[in-house]
């Protein structure tokens, strides 16, 4: 059975990165092809800083989907508690959350920990000395 997944892209920069929307879609489409996922047109997050309303709508739609493929895991909310709510929902509904550019997939607590570790490191890096 081919799983139906909704794409999720950003229309603003995230963690100092900016990727054109059509490039985000290309990466997601390629990821879906390689993982045999049926890609449904991406929801585009609003441009307003800190906004995750489209992500909320995708999560509301989750019962009718098999999962979500975001362009990057760093498009998740910056607040730890908001990310935790997302993980809980995905696991509780027995769905999948994929991150195309990192090639990661999350559908259990172990994967959540792995993603949270990446988040903590990423949030720490700006305070590290650079050469």
């Amino acid at each position: 059975m081919i799983l139906k997944v909704r794409g999720y892209i950003f229309s603003r920069s995230f963690m100092g990165e900016r990727v054109p929307q059509h490039v985000q879609n290309l990466v997601i489409r390629d990821y879906c092809n390689r993982h045999n996922l049926h890609y449904l047109l991406s929801a585009t997050e609003y441009a307003m800083k800190g906004c995750h309303l489209m992500l909320e709508q995708v999560l509301n739609e989750l019962p009718e989907l098999d999962g979500v493929v975001a362009y990057s895991l760093f498009q998740l909310p910056e607040e730890t508690s908001a990310r935790q709510r997302l993980y809980d929902k995905v696991i509780q509904l027995n769905k999948q959350f994929h991150f195309a550019v990192e090639g990661l997939q999350m559908n259990d607590c172990q994967e959540c920990d792995r993603i949270e570790t990446l988040w903590r490191v990423r949030q720490t890096l700006p305070f590290c000395q650079t050469f």
Binding site: S11, H22, T44, A47, M48, L53, E56, Q57
Partner: protein, 263 residues
């Protein structure tokens, strides 16, 4: 302002309504565009050319199922965008109106979009949105060009500037709802835009808009393409990757090349 009377009129109409609808500025360009579409459709569906263009377009749902619609649409849109003159023809149908509303040094979207809405089909809907919410610059306009008469639910809707400003103020509270709930909340305020074949619609894409299931007995065919001033602020849709200058003027060309003499 040193605008002519007709420029003032069109500008006031755009600001008041959020859109203008006018006869296409170059009918031969529109006819050329529609002819290219007919050729592409005949080729894609292996049809013998024996029908009037408007009949073929309006009844395409008799030949293309909802399941095959996206593949068909992609084939047509790739075909039309690959034609050398297409974007130039598209520009010509709206040129004087764009020059009045936007300016005479314009950037144009690289690829024109196509919407085909079969009667009763819910697979190609655009839920209520403003393009600016997903990163478009408020300095852009959309040129919306139908290939058939668009009326009733075969058309698109737009939320006029006044209720749109109200929605903007209450966005944090109201946008938490789903797109459908948001639409239901403002459905009594939206305006359905009747645009006949031979007319062009130019609208402010920062006003919420979208479409619903086409409950009319005919298929909608419409294209949309964004234009902005070359030197106005860009949003997430950047110069080069999404927009390209199409009418740069000599003085700007010279200015961009100019360097002060080195000492």
């Amino acid at each position: 302002m040193f605008l002519t009377e007709s420029e003032q009129q069109i500008s006031a109409e755009y600001q008041c309504q959020g859109y203008i609808i006018r006869p296409v500025a170059d009918l031969s360009a529109l006819l050329w565009i529609r002819e290219q579409f007919i050729c592409l459709i005949q080729d894609a569906l292996e049809l013998i050319p024996d029908e009037q263009p408007d009949v073929l377009l309006n009844t395409i749902h008799e030949r293309v199922s909802s399941a095959n619609l996206n593949a068909f649409r992609l084939k047509i849109i790739r075909g039309i965008n690959s034609l050398d003159n297409f974007r130039s023809m598209y520009f010509r149908v709206a040129q004087p109106y764009l020059e009045t509303l936007v300016g005479n040094e314009l950037s144009m979207q690289l690829r024109v979009n196509l919407s085909i809405q079969l009667p009763g089909d819910d697979s190609s809907l655009l839920p209520i949105h403003a393009d600016t919410w997903s990163g478009d610059s408020p300095f852009e306009v959309v040129v919306w060009l139908p290939l058939v008469d668009c009326y009733g639910r075969k058309a698109m809707y737009l939320l006029p500037p006044e209720p749109a400003a109200q929605l903007n103020q209450e966005f944090a509270q109201r946008a938490v709802a789903s797109s459908e709930e948001l639409y239901q909340a403002i459905s009594h305020q939206v305006q359905w835009l009747k645009v006949k074949y031979g007319e062009v619609l130019i609208f402010n894409q920062s006003l919420p808009h979208g479409n619903r299931v086409n409950t009319e007995p005919e298929t909608r065919w419409s294209m949309n393409c964004r234009f902005k001033g070359v030197f106005t602020p860009y949003g997430d849709k950047k110069i080069g990757e999404f927009f390209e200058p199409i009418t740069l003027r000599a003085v700007s060309q010279a200015g961009m090349r100019y360097h002060l003499p080195k000492l």
